[in-house]
Assembly symmetry: C2
Homo-oligomer: 155 residues x 2
Amino acid sequence: MEQTIEAYENILEEFRKLIKSSNLKYTKQREFILEAIFYNKGHFTPEDIYNLILKKHPKSNIGIATVYRTLGFLENSNLVTSISFGTQGKKYEFGLGKHHDHLVCLSCGKIFEFHNETIERKQKEIAKEFNFKMTGHFMKITGICSECIEKMEGE
Amino acid sequence: MEQTIEAYENILEEFRKLIKSSNLKYTKQREFILEAIFYNKGHFTPEDIYNLILKKHPKSNIGIATVYRTLGFLENSNLVTSISFGTQGKKYEFGLGKHHDHLVCLSCGKIFEFHNETIERKQKEIAKEFNFKMTGHFMKITGICSECIEKMEGE
DNA sequence: ATCGATGCAAAAGTTTTGCATATAC
DNA sequence: GTATATGCAAAACTTTTGCATCGAT
């Protein structure tokens, strides 16, 4: 699924506003980071993103520290979301649009996405029960995907 | 909530069997790690566990590497479970007994637990839909707890 | 001109690994 | 006695920070 240029322009616009309203400065590095996450569907470590940018903008001379700093900001602003998959580190993905959760295959690492309204509703109820002001939620089902099950049976 | 000695004896028995059936060796270090997680209700980093053991068994001379190695084994065996809270690292908790999920306060870091059957059921349905052999699931609601909300309003 | 943002490199923190020794079986 | 587990220390990673300089406003 390719993202359209128009969609990106809208996001960029939102991003500019967000930066302005946070009294921050608009820099090309920040834009590159947003761009990298937007155009590459999937889940990326800060280092992945850093490398994507180096590849796409070889002379941009961006630093990994900037990637970390910007991801922090983007996450707080809900433009990207992060999760921890597997044993190590954090991965980021573009975070606008309908909320979704993940199925993670422990064998091949593949990630499947789903959305379920019943669960979403229940989560809100639970937060309310605890007098919790919910700002986010996150769900992950781990297991073995059908493809890997077949492979195992084939052995 | 204090755990009873009897309950621990049962776990220990299970642990021994598990080790035997995995063709591993039973060592006092492995027992100390299980003990530390069992008797201290909560969520611990590997380092927390390491320190708990040093404190309880000052002359045991355990190494942090052993803690990491054993936690990996315990997690694979479902005797403990791990989650990533906040920005950094992984925390472990004792993992037998009824499955539960977590509410995490982003302000004070406190963790609340809940269990909801509807969500559990839905998760199973979703795994089935994807032909996924589910081995675990994990849900986290983030937000601000009622105590912190009050504090903020008081300011 | 000002003040925040950046890159770099160092530091801090976390997890894994190699290896000689100790210990369970 | 043999093979695995351990502690230690080093290495490998990941993330954060300090600081001089750059660049957006």
